[in-house]
Amino acid sequence: MNGPDRSSDRLWTWFAVSSVVFLVVLAVSPVKDYFREYRRYQDGYRRQLLATASTAKELKAAQEESVGIRQIWIPAFGDRVDRCTTCHRGVENPAMARAEEPYRTHPPTPHTPGDFARFGCVACHRGQGRATTRAEAHGDVPDWSSPLLPLRYTEASCGTCHRGLVVPEASLLSSGRALMNRVGCLGCHKIAGWDDWRSKAPDLGGLADETHVEWLRAWLKQPRSLRPNTWMPDFHLSDDEIEALVSFLWVQPGTEPLPAGDPPAGDSDAGKKVFRESRCVSCHTIEGRGNGSAPELSGIGSKASRRWLVAFLTDPHGFQPDIAMPQYDFTRQQVLDLASYLSEELVDPSAPAAGAPFHPAAARVAEGEEVFVKYGCAGCHRVPGRKPSAPIGPELTGVGGKPAALLDFGARTDLPRRLPDWLAAKVSHPRSFRDGLRMPEFGFTPEQVEALVTALLSYDATEIPEAYRVTQPVAHYAPPGRFGELVRQYRCLTCHQMQGVGGDISTAPLTAEGSKVKESWLKSYLLLPTTIRPILTDRMLPFGMAEERAGFLANFMANVFLDDAIPGELFPQGPPAEQAGRGRRLYYERYGCQSCHQLGGSGGYYGPPLDDTPSKLRSGWIAWWLQGPQRWRADVRCPDFGLDARDAEDLAAFLVTPRPAAAKPGAQP
């Protein structure tokens, strides 16, 4: 009678097995959860908190540290969900400044620790915000669509929202964008947002008038062999291509024909004096010394003919309409002397000498045009009478977010399959990817490569909500009438800013110049600029302008470039002696102004000398400036001392009090 027993046994077995199955199935989820990677990190963080807790409050916080996924959810920023803080527990805890990763405090930046909730983590560091394992979040596997950005390039992410050329807190990004602006990437590659870019390369007409063919051949062969600091890249042209290109360029006419006949001789020594007094090195370099915004001149005599130099110096804007160089009011003799100095003294002994006259064959000219088009020369150089052509390289909009799988690594099997490494190799050795590529070599230093890669990575395709975009307002100002004509002739806007337009070589914007300086001083300064900042190589140029012109310019600025917020004359009856005396003590004893300013024969040369203040500056402006030197330009070096109005006015009274020591020799005592 085992039957019922056996069946009940079987039933028991089945019951046992199914119970176990049920329990095990129930256990799967908690077990999986128990083994999650982030638990390990969170346990570690809790242990560190407990070990370092020194107050009861810290101990309580450590004990309350619970296990679970943490996330920053930003509905306003594309509904981002960043779970990085699940493991990076200490980013907002200042006590973790010296902890090992992943617990270390985030280093201070303009957006941290204040803006975690606004930006999250992925907006700057990239990677997969929703992932909760290290490998998936960092995505440091080849061909992953959005891997973590290497730390050295993080500034690229500043540039996805900050679209302007200069981002003050991101120096690497800013120098990368400045390089892009300067070296001519945009000549071949379109990038959205750079539509206003203009090349600074010279126009290529009338070369047969300007130089000799041997020089042009050597230049095209290897530009840096003639000018080590030139931005003209090396296209690695074959001799055949060079011959064709030279032939094509040789027959392109200039904007203006050269006046017939050889100009009269000049005096090289007198020309040297003109060269020095005109402060040409404010922009040009001589053997690398100088500001460097204009070409090296040490070999100019081996390149340019004297006949061309004379014509060019007489009318630079006729030959190069878009050039940044001002037109000086040289006399004819000064031009002749200067041209003699440049062509006789500034010669490069290693440059090739002029050979026989060159008469290119028509067939070669046609071949040369093909070379000119093939390498996209017109991207940077205008040829008078020729239509500008479309950029020849691929568009780079969105290049900073390209998945590595879409990149052509070609022959570069040595490279890690990551976008930053690809970009770095591309800008360093563009021709190493495969044969037949046209991108030239620029010979960038590793620092320049790092800056360029940072800038290129900033052009990714991420959609940035309007509220997050930071664009630099584009100012439009065209100086009017005769003032405008003179501003264009002297190219004031190459260095100075007016109403938000212009270059930043000069530290002082001219926008409120009338409220700042006295008209009589401005006129005499335009006639003969004195050195205001001895530490700078780039100084105001003496244009040799006629007195009437200087008077007109000074009068215009004194009446138009005014800021109503700046008080006028503070002391119509002259500065009171008592106030000036107090200002004197503040100057020397309280604020140490003599550290940087020269006054009465002593002091520093960091800021402008102050001896001529009584005849130069308006007292209201001095007091206004002292109460906030960074008001017009954020990078003004004079520190903000936090002066109140009284101290500022006392200092102004002291500075505008005429000093006997500063009196002109021969003046009445």
């Binding site: 046994d9 303009p110 500034e155 807190e169 040595d414 890690p416 550290s595 520093g604």
Partner: protein
């Protein structure tokens, strides 16, 4: 018999769980392996660099973001007096009495805490009983900038002579 069956059942059932766990671990390993591969590839390439001129690697940056911002600020505001390398020999130091010190001097670096350096930058030399020739920068630079400036000062090396 009953015990044996239960044990067998447990064993059989635990297999999928173990497999499940192993299954979770396996992709992680698979994901890590290729990550290591390019590093090896790069190392090989670096080994061949002598023969192949194309092989090239970016040198490691010398400074991180914070010290780099500090360096940019130092060069803009400080180097005119303190010198490009921090040796107190900047263009304007010749007009100063007392002269700026050598900031790279290890004895000086050891003596001053980060907070002390930050205080002098923020409030000027006079605040620390030093020369008022060093102006206060606390209204011109913010706390982060001053912190980064200190971070950069810590990277300065002593003068050679």
């Amino acid at each position: 018999m009953r015990i044996a069956t239960t044990a067998l059942g447990l064993l059989l059932l635990s297999l999928p769980v173990a497999a499940c766990h192993r299954g979770a671990a396996a992709p992680a390993k698979a994901a890590q392996a290729p990550a290591a591969a390019p590093a090896q590839g790069a190392a090989n390439a670096a080994g061949e660099a002598a023969t192949a001129p194309a092989a090239w690697q970016m040198p490691e940056p010398d400074l991180g973001y914070n010290a780099r911002e500090g360096r940019a600020l130092y060069e803009h505001y400080c180097s005119t007096c303190h010198g490009s390398e921090g040796h107190g020999d900047g263009f304007n130091s010749f007009n100063l009495d007392p002269k700026p010190r050598d900031l790279g001097d290890p004895a000086f670096q050891a003596k001053r805490t980060d907070e002390e350096l930050a205080t002098v930058i923020r409030s000027g030399g006079a605040a620390a009983g030093l020369s008022s020739g060093m102006p206060p920068w606390g209204r011109t630079l913010n706390a982060r900038q001053i912190g980064n400036l200190v971070a950069y000062l810590r990277t300065l090396k002593p003068a050679e002579n």
